[in-house]
């Protein structure tokens, strides 16, 4: 019993680190740009597809893809921010939501047209194949890697935004962009870069996911709902909140899958409803 439970908790933690990584990007984008990035799932899918295409067409392996795919997709995000999203700055967040939602539909439609619904298989990199028997479960080496890397990236992002001078600029930019610009900081560029970084994080998560899940055009639309719930529960825009909540919800979901599987795809939303009832600003959110 204890053995099975610890296995399920560990799996919950693994899934939780995906949620954390994805919701982190969303939280950064919302916190600093006030944009509800509905294209996050599609950008996650783009990352996975970029890795697959790099391997399939040019023979570029996993390790390079881990760097190049987020860069390429991040650049795409930056251009998108510059050309489209920026025009909606200062308007109701609903407009940004609609634009990014439209982008997601277009991207998913294009990929579905080109690659079909079943998608493609991406192999686990040779160095991370196999796994270890922990006694209570078999832990694939790749999953352990996912947890470690996600934690590292989450911590680094949190550190940059909350503890460094650059982060201070970013936070100041959200509070009062005009004043910050008066101090000679290029605020529009900063916003573009922030969006680009958030998108790159989604793509990074996509590359991490490629060897585990089938790379399909709709892989992002399933996970994005849970991730939005994570961001809402954690408190919109709270970086620490999204990391902690992502991990926590992974655990809750893991337990549900063991105790009562039919509820496992709604448990996250039940938690969300409860949190919104008791703490409308989310667990870590500040009332605006």
């Amino acid at each position: 019993m204890i053995q099975v439970l610890s296995g399920q908790l560990l799996i919950g933690l693994i899934n939780g680190s995906f949620y954390a990584l994805l919701s982190l990007g969303l939280a950064i984008i919302f916190g600093l740009l006030n944009v509800v990035n509905f294209a996050h799932g599609a950008q996650y899918m783009l990352g996975a597809f970029a890795a697959w295409m790099a391997l399939h067409y040019w023979g570029v392996g996993y390790w390079w893809a881990l760097v190049l795919a987020p860069l390429a997709v991040g650049l795409f995000g930056l251009v998108f921010e510059r050309l489209c999203l920026r025009r909606l700055h200062g308007l109701d967040p609903l407009y940004g939501l609609l634009l990014t939602f439209g982008l997601a539909l277009v991207l998913e439609g294009l990929f579905q047209n080109a690659y079909g619904i079943s998608g493609n298989s991406y192999p686990v990199p040779a160095a991370l194949e196999g796994g270890t028997n922990l006694g209570f479960m078999y832990l694939p080496r790749y999953r352990a890697w996912v947890v470690l890397v996600s934690m590292a990236v989450c911590f680094a992002s949190w550190f940059v935004v909350e503890k460094t001078r650059l982060g201070a600029y970013l936070r100041a930019g959200t509070e009062n962009p005009a004043l910050l610009q008066a101090f000679g900081v290029n605020v529009p560029l900063m916003f573009s870069l922030t969006y680009g970084y958030g998108v790159a994080l989604a793509a990074f998560a996509g590359v991490m996911a490629a060897p585990i899940y089938q790379v399909t055009p709709l892989m992002g639309s399933g996970v994005i709902m849970v991730v939005f719930a994570v961001v809402v529960i954690g408190g919109m825009g709270s970086i620490l909140g999204s990391i902690v909540t992502g991990l926590g919800l992974g655990l809750v979901e893991g337990l549900t899958k063991y105790l009562y599987p039919p509820a496992s795809d709604v448990v996250v939303f039940v938690v969300m409803a409860l949190v919104l009832l008791l703490r409308p600003a989310g667990l870590f959110g500040r009332q605006r």
Binding site: V4, G7, Q8, I11, G12, I14, N15, F38, G41, F101, A104, L105, Q112, G116, I117, S118, G119, N120, S121, P123, V124, G130, G131, M137, Y138, P140, Y142, R143, P211, I212, Y213, Q214, T216, M219, S221, G222, V223, I224, M225, F228, G254, K257, Y258, P261, P262, S264, D265
Partner: protein, 434 residues
């Protein structure tokens, strides 16, 4: 949130496609009619009526088939646009005409939703003179459309769905269940695996009608063959991360993990079972695996797996010849569902020709009377319950080393004779009692 919005958007799209113009339309006929004056047309029509009374046996002067399938969702690779291509090929290969009247193929996306499927079917029957609906992948859409068709006396030709009640207590006199059912899958794969020593089973089951039907049918076969079922877990549909369920399957200690799911669920569960090292001590049995699934998984992951199929493109010369023509148009080899759509429509057109009418009762009688003999089935017979009983094939997925050319994926291990592959007619079906 995202999902709801997507559904709204795609519902609108589906309505648009369903009302769109026919895809294969006899252009000559329409333009000629447009240039005739009404009186002349009336005279000609009268003349035609007097000269050849038998030719007037096709209602509305056209044989119209609607391909109602999943065009963009989870089953769009195994059916979807490929089913439409197959239907168009069937119409063209039949000469584009039957009894001198043009064959018209139209199509729509039912999005795997029962309500969308039945409302498109109603519209097709009431407003667009559709004589038969083909494919209907996913059992819930088939079960929703069948009673509508029966009420309007139109024919349903099912290739995609698998639930056994379709030819059981839910059967109708105007339905043909053509390609496969869950029992045939279970009987083929289940029995073969037990006979090879896979005695103890654990099921990972998609938590809806189809998955449960597949699990129940397989359990029956496993128990009858002397095996044991140690347990099961019902995973919500759809699921992307199966690790938790796989861990439970691993903990059960069963020799065989039966995957009672389909499409993306099957793909992800097989992929992750490999990752979690399940395949070292236990074996997977994919209970419904399509060629498109194996193609997207890749042989390195899928190798060695047993599966049952109604059709494999590379089985003999006839199947190869047709499949290569299909490949030229669709750029993918056909799945059994797509090949089934071609075969069932060809049989339907032949039955109209033989009956000399498209009257549904007479066509159904002819379809039951005539055996199916083509690249898809040898001596296939459609029973009173509408189930097409034909040979099935037990196949094993090749390893990457064994595969010599693109799409060289299966070894056919055994031909399962029709009598063994399918159950005898179910007395729960009203026509069987008669």
């Amino acid at each position: 949130m995202a999902r709801t919005n997507r559904h709204l958007a795609s519902t609108a799209a589906a309505t648009a496609t369903s009302t769109a113009a026919p895809i294969v339309q006899s252009a000559a006929a329409t333009s000629a009619a447009a240039t005739l004056t009404p009186t002349l047309a009336l005279l000609l029509a009268l003349a035609a009526f007097a000269a050849a009374p038998a030719a007037a046996q096709v209602s509305d002067g056209v044989v119209k088939v609607g391909v109602l399938t999943d065009m963009t969702g989870a089953y769009s690779d195994l059916a979807g646009p490929g089913s439409l291509v197959a239907a168009q090929m069937a119409a063209e290969d039949f000469g584009g005409k039957v009894l001198g009247k043009p064959i018209v193929i139209i199509s729509a996306d039912h999005q795997n939703k029962a309500d969308v499927a039945s409302s498109i079917a109603r519209k097709w029957f009431d407003e667009q003179q559709v004589d038969a609906i083909a494919d209907l992948v996913s059992s819930s859409t088939a079960l929703a459309v069948m009673p509508v068709a029966a009420e309007k006396k139109r024919i349903t030709l099912l290739s995609g769905p698998g639930s056994t009640p379709i030819a059981g207590d839910k059967c109708t006199p105007y339905n043909v269940h053509y390609t496969y059912n869950t029992y045939a899958m279970a009987a083929g794969t289940g029995r073969a695996v037990v006979n090879q020593g896979g005695k103890t089973w654990f099921f990972i089951t998609a938590d809806y009608v189809f998955g449960k039907s597949l699990e129940a049918d397989t359990s029956k076969v496993v128990l009858a063959a002397g095996g044991k079922v140690l347990g099961d877990v019902k995973a919500p549909f759809p699921t992307t991360d199966f690790s938790s369920y796989l861990l439970q399957a691993q903990g059960s200690g069963a020799q065989i993990i039966g995957l009672a799911n389909a499409g993306a669920d099957t793909i992800n569960s097989i992929k992750q079972a490999n990752e979690f090292g399940l395949t070292k001590k236990q074996n997977l049995a994919g209970l419904l695996v399509f060629l498109s699934d194996v193609h997207s998984l890749g042989l390195a992951t899928a190798k060695g797996m047993y599966l049952t199929t109604a059709f494999y493109w590379d089985r003999d010369d006839a199947s190869r010849k047709w499949s290569k023509r299909f490949f030229e148009r669709h750029h993918k080899m056909p799945t059994m569902v797509q090949a089934g759509v071609y075969s069932e429509l060809t049989h339907y057109f032949a039955a109209i020709k033989a009956a000399g009418t498209d009257n549904p009762d007479k066509v159904m009688a002819k379809m039951r009377e005539m055996p199916v003999n083509d690249f898809f089935a040898k001596n296939g017979r459609i029973g009173v319950d509408g189930l097409h009983r034909h040979d099935m094939y037990l196949a094993q997925v090749k390893s990457p080393e064994e595969s010599k050319y693109p799409w060289d994926y299966y070894k056919i291990i055994r031909t399962i004779p029709a009598a063994e592959a399918f159950e005898a007619p179910d007395p729960a079906c009203p026509q069987v009692k008669k």
